[in-house]
Amino acid sequence: MVMKAGGWESSDASYEQARQAALDFGIDLSITDYLLTLTPEQRLERHDQALELVTALRQAGMDYYGFDPRNPPQTEPARS
């Protein structure tokens, strides 16, 4: 495996399979590539910033809808 500008290249077939499996799960490996250039503490800091954003966006969603859109209130089915 060699690192090249813009990413990594590997001739290792099992590595390519692992990458494909991650892509199939919807993982954006360009972000993973970037995170691996950081130190563990930088990764943690970046994560906590992202979590703060997620929390703020989630709160904004709840404020807008009046409920948590991940768990919408059950509505009674209309009676005929």
Partner: protein
């Protein structure tokens, strides 16, 4: 507010025996997945439970899985009846687990941990091989997704080590 380091600092200050596991351990290895809770495997021996109470007691800890979020009973003897503690605190969510699927209870998890230095804060983190194994053992879609990314990271690190 997310404050992973502050939670870990609290645990260290009170000499809690723990190993960082789960999504936050994955973050340290380079995972891009955002997680809302700090998962740690801890000894549930009375002495360690008393330390946990000391570390988290003034952070308004509440039981997360109970819809009413009752306050955590600050009695270490009572806590000994739990296998896991899922808590919300003023610093965020923390899950204290007495054992990890695919790895074992605290002594085994501790044996397979590495030391991470985070801005001077040293904590044990489950090693990458066992972290992947644990994720696969739990087997929920989000765990398998996390394992898939960690597998890429593991193979990359292995490739770097053998170059």
């Amino acid at each position: 507010m997310a404050s992973t380091l502050e939670i870990l600092r609290r645990l260290n200050q009170h000499e809690v025996e723990y190993v960082l596991v789960g999504g936050m351990a994955g973050v340290l290895y380079g995972s891009s997945l955002v997680t809302e809770d700090v998962d740690v495997c801890a000894s549930f021996e009375p002495k360690n439970l008393a330390r946990i109470v000391s570390a988290l007691g003034d952070l308004n800890p509440r039981h997360r899985m109970n819809p009413n979020h009752p306050p955590m009973d600050l009695n270490a003897v009572e806590l000994a009846g739990f296998k896991n503690l899922y808590l919300i605190t003023d610093l965020g969510q923390i899950d204290l687990l007495s054992e990890i699927s695919g790895v074992g209870s605290y002594p085994e998890v501790s044996r397979y941990s590495i030391a991470a230095n985070l801005k001077g804060l040293v904590c044990k983190v489950l090693d990458l091989d066992r972290l992947i194994r644990a994720r696969r053992a739990v087997g929920r879609p989000k765990d398998l997704q996390a394992a898939a990314e960690l597998e890429v990271i593991r193979r990359r690190l292995k490739g770097q080590a053998t170059k």
